[in-house]
């Protein structure tokens, strides 16, 4: 109960009036009025359909919405869901909202939900982010059931994605997490996931929750903490993940949230990952991962140009991070024309591992290290697009699998440079 101190009195009062629950759904929001109504309705229908006898509550942790999102959550009456799906509720399903800050911070939102779950002694919890969610009632049940009815501590989603969506996941986060921790977790950075009350309380106590952590990718930190704690992890197929349009400027914040969190997890978990070899499947409900192939307009030329400019302009920064041979090889490929340009898997893995070691040694500001990786990632993304331009879904999967094996094969190199080369 030590974590209750940062919750407002009003929120605490509302939680106390709810009492204990079996299932808790956390909704971190910020100006999500357009989507939140349908998501809350889906959640209510999902609970009424699949968990009619369980005590449940919806907790909205809002980061200062100005479009009335919290009001929409609180006012979404369970009767609406009942009427639309002809279901009968055996229990009430309270929806509570709290504003944790005037600006959004994923970490603080998660902390609020975890603290609420601990106070309500929830057995199973799910976090659903309206930013990315296309959650269905079956999807919600598939996330919660293994935690509530079986003995899983964390259930992460898998999706049917466009082959060129989530390139940072397929080219860095998934292969590196898999190589280091030995588990084939397809979405280590998940915006919808379910977890046990025990894991939630454990993370609530162990995570430092300082200002930096509140901004960093608390979702991936949660996954990594579950792995480090030896918790039982599963996956559940959630259907198609819609393509989200992004600006190129979104890459650096995304890398800070995910790659930064992954790199910083390596230090405290060195004892866990340095001895592991190979990787194993984790229990998955439904497909492990599917790729769709419809055409997508991507400015490949711009990706390569930004890589080339980055390699030329950031030479002084790379000299502090990369080995001379890696830098020389990057400079060589940066000089190749568009047709011959290729950022091979081996060089990409070597680059990422050298960045991870440089991050560990803090050779320069850690945030600068993550920023310096962004132009190189664009080069790798260009190669990934070219290699899979005409490939089938299986070809893409094989390409990703090949990269994963390369990460696993070169893991001794990371261990060698971890404490070795200055």
């Amino acid at each position: 109960m030590a974590e209750e101190s940062f919750l407002t009195d009003d929120f605490l009062g509302q939680l106390i009036s709810v009492g204990e629950v079996d299932i808790l759904i956390g909704l971190p929001t910020h100006n999500d009025a357009k989507t939140i109504g349908s998501i809350v309705e889906t959640i209510q229908t999902g609970i009424l359909t699949f968990f009619p006898r369980e005590r449940a509550a919806i907790i909205n942790a809002d980061g200062g919405s100005r479009d009335g999102t919290p009001e929409l959550v609180v006012n979404a009456a369970i009767g609406d869901a009942r009427r639309s799906s002809k279901l009968y509720a055996l229990r009430t399903l309270p929806s509570i909202s709290t504003q944790y800050a005037s600006s959004p911070a994923n970490g603080t939102a998660l902390r609020t939900i975890l603290a609420a779950a601990e106070l309500l002694r929830a057995k199973a919890c799910a976090v659903i982010s309206p930013k990315s969610s296309q959650i269905t009632t079956e999807g919600l049940a598939a996330l919660l059931r293994p935690v509530y009815a079986e003995t899983f501590d964390l259930v992460l989603p898998t999706y049917r994605r466009h082959r060129f969506d989530g390139i940072l996941l397929t080219n860095l986060l998934y292969p590196m997490t898999r190589a280091l921790y030995g588990l084939k977790i397809r979405e280590p950075y998940a915006l919808e996931f379910a977890f046990s009350g025990r894991l939630g309380s454990q993370f609530l106590v162990q995570n430092p929750w300082h200002e930096e952590a509140a901004r960093a990718g608390s979702e991936i930190q949660f996954t990594l903490a579950a792995i480090a704690g030896g918790n039982r992890i599963g996956q559940s197929f959630q259907g198609t993940k819609e393509h989200v349009e992004r600006h190129s400027a979104d890459l650096v914040p995304a890398m800070r949230q995910t790659v930064g969190a992954l790199f910083s997890s390596l230090e405290p978990n060195f004892g866990l990952w340095h001895g592991k070899a190979g990787s194993q499947l984790i229990p998955t409900t439904g497909a492990e991962q599917e790729f769709t192939l419809e055409p997508l307009r991507i400015n490949r030329k711009r990706l390569r140009e930004m890589f080339t400019t980055g390699v030329a302009e950031l030479e002084s920064v790379f000299q502090s991070i990369l080995s001379a041979s890696t830098l020389a090889e990057l400079q060589r490929i940066a000089g190749l024309d568009e047709v011959r340009f290729r950022y091979p898997a081996e060089l990409w893995v070597k680059t990422v591992y050298e960045f991870a070691a440089a991050y560990h040694k803090s050779v320069i500001s850690r945030d600068h290290i993550i920023q310096a990786l962004a132009p190189l990632f664009r080069g790798r993304a260009f190669t990934f697009l070219m290699e899979n331009r005409n490939g089938s879904a299986d070809d893409v999967e094989n390409n990703v699998e090949g990269l994963c094996l390369e990460f696993e094969r070169m893991k001794p190199y990371l261990i060698e440079i971890w404490n070795g080369r200055e």
């Binding site: 060129f164 940072l168 996941l169 349009e245 190129s248 991507i298 400015n299 140009e305 400019t309 920023q371």
Partner: protein, 235 residues
């Protein structure tokens, strides 16, 4: 006459002996203080060197860009330089303390001035070091941000920021040690003003098209189009 001469000589010798007897213990004290000072200064140097190595001060100095400056000036590493500096300042302090024991007229005032000046030197060195550190950090931050935002001439932007900060730091250092305060202030004002004016003219006139493209990209239609072109979703 002879007796007078002998008396005077004896008196002079006695005075000399008295003077010598008067100054000799003080010289001995000076030597002892100087020797003790050397031991203390040497110990300080060794301790400081070990401490700086422990906190990887050379690495910090390298990232601040100070190591490159020292290397160009054929000076030893930042750790070694700072250790030697502390050694000499400490030993010189002890020697001057010893000299003050001799009671030489007017010298004590100079020694007092020297001791009063020491904190200002330390402050100037600190300003210099942290200034270089800030210059290195902010110029690198600007370089990375410019590269990731695909802005033109990122290195020029980075070097400009570094130069401005270093000019600012140097003017602060000179002001702190009291060297040509007014000249430095005026020179800084002129240099800084000229740099800003130059940048404004260069950006507004010379880079008219570039400025137009930049502003369009930043606030206008260009940005929306550019975003749509790059539909890569990393997560």
């Amino acid at each position: 006459m002879r007796e007078m001469i002998i008396n005077e000589l004896t008196q002079a010798m006695q005075e000399l002996t008295r003077g010598f007897a008067h100054i000799l213990p003080r010289i001995i004290v000076l030597v002892i203080i100087a020797f003790a000072g050397w031991v203390v200064a040497y110990l300080l140097k060794v301790l400081l060197r070990s401490f700086l190595r422990l906190i990887k001060f050379d690495k910090l100095s390298e990232s601040a860009g100070a190591s490159q400056l020292l290397s160009k000036a054929a000076l030893p590493s930042a750790t070694e330089l700072l250790s030697r500096f502390v050694f000499w300042v400490a030993w010189l302090g002890f020697i001057l303390l010893g000299i003050s024991v001799l009671g030489i007229f007017g010298f004590q005032e100079q020694i007092a001035k020297f001791f009063l000046f020491l904190p200002r030197i330390f402050a100037a060195l600190l300003i210099m070091f942290f200034g270089l550190l800030a210059a290195g950090f902010f110029s690198r931050a600007a370089l990375l941000a410019a590269v990731n935002a695909n802005l033109p001439s990122p290195r020029l932007l980075s070097v400009s920021i570094r130069t401005i900060i270093i000019i600012f730091v140097l003017s602060m250092v000179f002001e702190e040690v009291g060297v040509a305060e007014e000249t430095v202030l005026v020179a800084f004002g002129i240099a800084f003003g000229a740099l800003m004016l130059g940048l404004a003219i260069a950006f507004g006139m010379g880079g008219k098209d570039l400025a137009q493209r930049f502003l369009e990209k930043r606030f206008g239609q260009g940005r929306r189009d550019e975003g749509k072109e790059d539909e890569l979703s990393p997560l």
